[in-house]
Structures are given as C-alpha cells and as structure tokens.
Subunit: 204 residues, 2 copies
C-alpha cells in the first residue's frame, strides 16, 4: 500500500488527466468526473480497486488477434471449430461482440486497435497491420480477409491501406456490404448510404 | 489479491454499471468507457489501483463542513485565521475551490452535497442540512450564513428551504449577488439574469 502523502487537489489533477484520455471527454468533463470520484467513500474505493485487480488478473490481450479474453490466445483464436481460413479485420474489440451477436461469421478476427487518422496522429504503424501481415505469412491456411472497418472516412482510408498491403498476394480480400440497414425507412437514409446501396446492388 | 475468475463480458458489465453513475453519463457512453478501460495494459491498471489507494488513504470527509481534505476537520475548518462567525453554504466541494480562488471570502463553508430535487428523488434529508442546524446550535460564534447555491430552480428551492429552517433564529441569512457576470456583454445576457441584476441594483 502506498504511504506517499498527496493533497486532494493533486489527486484531482491526476484523476482529471486519466479521464481526459477517455474517448470524447474534454478537460471540463474530466474534472467533473474527478470531483465525482474523490467524494466517494472508502467502500466505493475498495470496489474500484477490486475491479481493476480483476482486470489485471483476468484479462489478457490475444497475441494473435488482439482481442481481449481470459486466455491468450483468446477463446475465438483457440476455438478449433472456427474457420481458420477467414480473418475478419475490425477496428475495435467492441466490433467483435457486434459481429458475434449476428451469428453469421464463423471465422477468426483481427483487431486493428483503431483506424488511420493523420489528423489525430494515428498512422499505420500505430495499428496492428504489421501483425496482420506477419500472421498471414505464418499461416498458409488463411485464404480470405474480410475488411469490416466502419464506413467513415478513416475507415475507408484504413480499408484501402490494407488492400494495398495485400495487393499482389494470394489472399482474397473482401469487404462487408454497406447499404440500407434492415428495418429502416428509405426516406430516412442519407444519400451516401443510398449511393453505396445502389453501387452494391445484387441480382434478385 | 482477488483470485476469483471473471469473464471479460462480466467485467465490462461491472465497469458499465460504475460509469453509468457518473454525472451526465448514459448507458451507451458508460459502455464505451468500459471497453476503453478493459483494453488497457497491466501498467495502466496498476496506475489506477495506485490512485484509488491514494484516495482511500489520503482523502477524508470533514465531519464539520463535509469538504474533502487530507485531515478531519479539513484545512479550512481547522484554520484559526478564518472567520468562524460566517458560514458559506455551497452545493458541492467544487464550489469551495471556485470561491477560494476569488479570495474574497474568509469564513468557513458547509457543503450540502447536492440540491433538493424531488424529480431526481433528492429530498432535504439526503443533504447535510440537519448537520448544518446542529453545527449552528453547537457553535454560538456563528452569526451569519451566506447561501451560495446556484441560481437554478433546484438551487432556489434549496436556498428557500434553508431560509425556512433558520427563520425565527438569531442567525443572519444572506445570499450572494446574482447578476451580470464581469466581462460579459449585455446583449448576450439572458433575461432572467438581467431581471436579477435589476432587482439587485445598488446605489452608485
């Protein structure tokens, strides 16, 4: 246990710095969170400590696909019943859960841990793209890579970058379909999505 | 150290529940925060644990004014150079810092830990108003209570409630001035603030 002495304002500063790195959080909100936390009682602090110990002890990053799991390799990479010939490339671990819920995909994943965004200072080397090429090189069973990045500017740039990386290789590169979401009314769909939906039309 | 086994989805659920209780955070953002945290490495987790240990070991709530500090009573309540005859009533500990920065007030504080808000299920008994009356009863040196709640509906209700509690007592009740903030242009000031500014006008 730490025996250092810290003032409340120093601790608030430290907490604010942590929360500022949370997605979509500015300095002001981070500061509000810090004040929220520092007013909690000893029992709440112990609950927090317990949960972070849990993460530390239980959660591992998969060295193959960069998913998080209780084991390394993760439960998906070590599942012999999954199709090892197809890799679905996603931006975050959260995307894996969404895709798993759909129940359609039975291959394995590769988490990029972000998207290329020069404006945010995120370049290809900051993602796990090099790991992906190494993984493909090491596993001749891999035949197809499905790119499932988001249909945003950054997602498009990242998808095109990966396409370039694998151009000339034997790997079949595919991309999930972007179009009108099921259950939506056409009049509420933006024009870019409609453009994609027409572009990706299939025989009926 | 905990030896229990938890799945990543269970931990994400636990984290989401914690963040949902943060001010202004809904289920979706809380879930995004949970995913953000669970992907952090062991070193980051250790840093988090350290900071929560720090709060646990260093931060105490003042039993007199409910401020947080490294000591109980807090550094303001135990400062003999401060004027013990005036108590400034504020909603949160954050307000103390703002008032302290202004350098004008040299009395002591009382933190309500919120405002009366029936819609949010916050009633007078949930605040530290009973402690305030007990504090005043025990300390005959207290002559004035300055109410510095926010000029919101809840702040007004709370101010009026405290006024009622002390009506008939010898205590002088005052309220900080609400009006046009310094440095602002009149054309940008809302009408309620202008109303307050005219109502509170002083001889010039």
């Amino acid at each position: 246990m730490s025996k250092k002495r810290y003032s409340s304002s120093k601790i608030i500063e430290m907490l604010t710095e942590i929360f500022e790195r949370f997605p979509g959080i500015g300095k002001k909100t981070a500061n509000r969170f810090a004040y929220h936390l520092i007013q909690k009682d000893v029992k709440t602090m112990e609950k927090f400590i317990e949960i972070f110990e849990l993460i530390k002890d239980n959660i591992k990053e998969c060295s193959l696909c960069h998913n998080i799991s209780e084991t390394n390799p993760c439960h998906i990479c070590s599942d012999k019943h999954r199709d090892g010939s197809i890799i679905c490339v996603v931006e975050t671990i959260k995307d894996i859960n969404s895709i798993e819920r759909s129940g359609k995909f039975r291959g394995r994943f590769h988490v990029l841990k972000g998207v290329i965004s020069p404006i945010m200072g995120i370049h290809p080397k900051d993602l796990t793209i090099a790991d992906l090429t190494a993984r493909v090189k090491k596993n001749p069973e891999i035949k197809e890579i499905i790119i499932a990045t988001s249909p945003t500017t950054e997602g498009e740039v990242t998808a095109n970058y990966i396409k370039k990386v694998f151009s000339g290789s034997e790997i079949k590169l595919t991309r999930i379909a972007y179009g009108v979401p099921v259950g939506s009314e056409l009049e509420n769909i933006d024009e870019v999505t409609l453009f994609k939906a027409f572009e990706g039309r299939k025989e009926f």
